[in-house]
Symmetry: C2
Subunit: 90 residues, 2 copies
């Protein structure tokens, strides 16, 4: 198992891991136990990784973080909507 | 702003982003809207990144993913407990 292959597996798992959460959140509309602060920091962090990858011209970093940015942003928006709809943070 | 600095900021944000979720989950015990599949894939992916960093001898990758592995595992265990306690996945 080459180290590169390990890197690609890790990138695939951590990037696609947000997909089940997006599907669940879109299906149930329930974000009560999800932390808004987490996704705010995560979206900011992933966007920074994306900028980092663009500056380095490192396509794998750009691709992985571009996808994660999209998925994490969906969850952030859904959580923001729930907060705005008055379901106060528990 | 050097590219390296951008990388450290990104690593700090994405690593510490799980902390508010851990605090919220430990405080409320509520994981209903959290996806078990997400955290299972995330823990597997972060563990793979950790192995990748160890193989490369890249301390920043080892540190960032070691912390994330700890935080994400706490959420995974809490979610697993809730499932086992019979509160079926909605």
């Amino acid at each position: 198992m080459t180290t590169d292959l390990l890197g690609y597996i890790a990138a695939f798992l951590t990037t696609t891991s947000f997909l089940p959460q997006v599907i669940r959140t879109l299906r149930t509309g329930d974000t009560r136990s999800i932390s808004f602060a987490m996704y705010l920091m995560l979206v900011a962090g992933v966007a920074t990784w994306l900028a980092y990858g663009l500056l380095l011209g490192a396509l794998p970093i750009v691709l992985a973080n571009g996808i994660t940015l999209l998925l994490a942003s969906i969850i952030l928006v859904m959580k923001w909507r729930e907060i705005r709809a008055g379901r106060k943070e528990s």
